[in-house]
Amino acid sequence: MAARADRQVSHRSFVSYIDKSREYYSASGFDQPYCWAAFDEVPFSPHTKPLAECNVAVVTTTFLHHHDSAHGAPATGKQVYAHPVADVPDRMFTSDLSWDKQATHTDDTESFLPLKALQQLADNGTIGSLNHRFFGVPTEYSQRKTGLDADQIATWCAQDGVDIALLVPL
């Protein structure tokens, strides 16, 4: 006999953020909905190297705290950056990003910047290494600006011999 379902659903259960944000900003009086990037073709680089030989880097959309940002100062002049994994602060600057501030928190950096988890996988030989620095990219409405940041991160990855990039948006 077939197993009994855990739940019964009448709608797709996972959230559509494209739909939610359009309805939210429309209700806020913004007439033009944001147009999200959508591509037909998707670049794909087949992975051939054993994981145990791979250098893995993390790309985050969170930032290091700057001057008074821990006390509510606004985010200004955010630039794409690289930072040593050996020097990760206890907290990252996330308050200017659109995450679910009612349902959760970002006090545990490992929940979005998994450097300790990756170091553990490097220590036990699952991966070759955790790259010596991670990369941060500003969240931009402008897809053109993000393209420039992507160029910079690609350059850093090439310099460091990164095999796998784990990208974690907030």
Binding site: F14, E23, Y24, A27, T104, S111, T146, I164
Partner: protein
């Protein structure tokens, strides 16, 4: 917006020969953009690598992400992580629009537009 940003970066890195995987919770934004590989974590936005403080879950999500990175054979590969948040209340609550807040949203939007107009007027 974070999800679109990293999806665009992912596409560029992939075109340069670097294997990528996006670990995220806004599945629609990533899939519409189109990336090589995604590990979908069906959580409220903010903790795609596992619940705060849950080291075992975080380790399993990161391990699974690497497995997907190493084994996917075609672009647009999405795998859903076998984890549950525990409550579904956040799904309707995030960016909620209903009769109880629609007037307040409109007022807040008017203020924001006025501030933007004042800011751009400063030149």
């Amino acid at each position: 917006m974070c999800h679109q940003t990293v999806s665009l970066v992912s596409r560029h890195l992939e075109s340069q020969g670097i294997t990528t995987i996006v670990v995220g919770s806004a599945r629609d934004i990533v899939e519409e953009c189109g990336v090589a590989r995604m590990l979908f974590v069906d959580f409220p936005l903010g903790n795609p690598c596992g619940k705060p403080g849950d080291r075992d879950m975080q380790q399993s999500i990161v391990s699974l992400a690497l497995d997907v990175a190493a084994t996917a054979i075609t672009p647009r590969t999405t795998v859903q992580a076998p984890v549950q948040w525990g409550s579904d209340d956040w799904r309707a609550a995030f960016m909620r629009v209903d009769d109880s807040n629609i007037d307040a949203l409109r007022v807040a939007g008017d203020k924001r537009r006025a501030a933007q107009a004042a800011s751009s007027g400063k030149g």
